[in-house]
Symmetry: C2
Subunit: 350 residues, 2 copies
């Protein structure tokens, strides 16, 4: 859409631009820093606990800058995720004004007005901070661009792990149709990045071919050594194959620990395991919650293969995630695979 | 997987290789012939009525060859779709022996054994006829290649319109994971073609980048002038936007005219309309069927905007299908778009 736009606004990046998803609870300062160092764009996940979020921002600032707050008119070269329905605008905006992240990635507002409110407040607090907004529909994307003028649209396909719109296409049709709709309205100076199902370099290359300016990976970074994640959770990710058959989108994953607090048109993709199987069998949510609470008492926190009852968020690309590795190696590998895939196509064009 | 394999086995094709899906009831002799003439691979849809199938094969033979049955050791350069659960093996195999289609595309068997039975019988009846098998999972693909040794795997992503596996990923992760699994087992001399959500040339280019040797389009060809389809059905396709939001996978579409005859792990993607909305509201299937039967009595057969109760199969790419056109124009347009998308990437590589 806006060729080289990411290279201009995030001058440390290497092409193809790999972005680590702001996975709440998983994407901490070590991962964001490692992705930044590898020439990608690293995001901190949203944390509703504002003290924990401040600590994460302090820690990543120390890692990246040696503890100096960015100079005026500069930003911290790290992005920050925001879960709009779950966080307090004033609290997050105060941290944005103080730490000046390079971007804030807005997700899951209760409607368009929420995105507008947050975009305006963040721009006012830190004019250099870019606004990223994640959405999974063509109509939603057009409305958001018209209303909020984001710098980056994160187009999330239905393959994505974790939360997203309950309904949706994959990026295979979502990206071309969205780009066409935006072009028709003259709204095509927004950058587009692709999310959902991307865990192999050929998928990175495919996303660029679809028109994306950069590519988000989430599930792949669950296997990064820098990610904050329980070993049994990682084992589950590494062992799982055939991601389209072994993951599923469902709301029950948000009901395991109590009532679902997500906006009503959201669900999430996770591994098919005991809680979901019980749900399909018609077992009551009260009984599912009870078994879940018991499993959470184990040393594996319900993530272990024996009694897997906690939600293990993962996208359909989970079958391509096979080894634990430093984030830099994960990024190098998909970049190399992407180059190989594109070179094969270029040879075919001759 | 097997570079240039389609060009070798189907020597009339032009790259990128566009394949028209064997849409049962829609893909007749005119469409198959038009796609063939445009340098693609045209398929006749499966017809459980064997007399109608014979007529379609006679008609396409006349169009393609001037009514001559192919010489020994040659084939009719047209493919034939087969719906294994709904057709009689002996009847179809007899027609394959007589008309020698270039390929038979096997879909929806009750399990692996059905695919094996049909593959073997078709190879015996017409040794030059290639075996194509459609599947939507990594495990299924590996098992089919090991068991049936097909010439072509049609990897169908969840974006696809019409029938497919109830569970599944899009081609974004399905193709890379399947190719990786086949390579690991040394089974990678099978050709791979991609299906599901592909209605724009950038998606064609993306599928090739993922590793596909050719690309299947279905929904796009519903708007081809050569397709056998009710005008109100086409209008619905052309008017629909935001395909991920306006289509849905569900079994209820197969229950509208009576009990669902599809194997239990299948459903289909169609436009969200009255019958589906009633189903979500909890209206009984008897009442849904009654309303459907009444709508089928109208001149628009239940496809019209006013009382849309019949299934209108469509993939998530439906929002990219905006005009009725000859099949050759549809193919030319996506080829041009694919070239544009790839050239943009090649420039970016420099």
């Amino acid at each position: 859409m806006a060729p080289q736009s990411l290279e201009k606004d995030y001058p440390w990046v290497t092409s193809p631009v790999i972005i680590s998803a702001p996975m709440s609870g998983f994407a901490g300062h070590d991962l964001a820093h490692a992705v930044y160092k590898a020439g990608g764009i690293g995001f901190l996940g949203a944390l509703p606990d504002i003290k924990a979020l401040r600590t994460a921002l302090e820690d990543v600032t120390e890692l990246v800058t040696g503890n100096r707050i960015p100079e005026p008119n500069t930003t911290l070269p790290i992005g920050l995720g925001a879960l709009l329905f779950a966080q307090k605008l004033d609290e997050v905006v105060a941290l944005v004004a103080e730490f000046r992240p390079t971007a804030v990635w807005l997700f899951a507002a209760h409607g368009l007005a929420g995105f507008k409110l947050w975009s305006d407040a963040i721009r006012k607090a830190s004019s250099e901070t870019k606004i990223w907004i994640q959405i999974g529909s063509v109509t939603g994307a057009v409305n958001l661009v018209q209303s909020c003028n984001p710098d980056v649209l994160v187009l999330q396909g239905a393959d994505a792990g974790g939360h997203g719109g309950e309904k949706g296409a994959s990026i295979i049709s979502l990206i071309p149709e969205t780009i066409q709709a935006l072009e028709r309205l003259g709204l095509d100076d927004v950058s587009v990045v692709a999310a959902g199902g991307i865990a192999h370099g050929s998928s990175v290359a495919a996303a660029l071919t679809l028109g994306a300016d950069g590519v988000v990976m989430g599930t792949s970074f669950l296997a990064a050594e820098e990610t904050k994640v329980h070993p049994a959770y990682v084992d589950a990710i590494l062992e799982t194959e055939d991601g389209g058959q072994t993951t599923v989108r469902a709301k029950v994953f948000d009901e395991l620990a109590g009532p679902n607090i997500w906006p009503s048109d959201f669900d999430g993709r996770a591994l098919i395991a005991e809680s979901y199987r019980d749900h399909v069998k018609g077992i009551s949510i009260d009984d599912i919650r009870k078994s879940h609470a018991e499993a959470k008492q184990s040393s594996e926190l319900g993530f272990g293969a024996h009694n897997r009852r906690a939600a293990i968020w993962a996208g359909t690309g989970v079958g391509l995630v096979r080894n634990k590795a430093p984030a830099a190696e994960i990024i190098d590998e998909v970049r190399q695979e992407a180059r190989t895939a594109l070179e094969r196509i270029v040879r075919g064009l001759k």
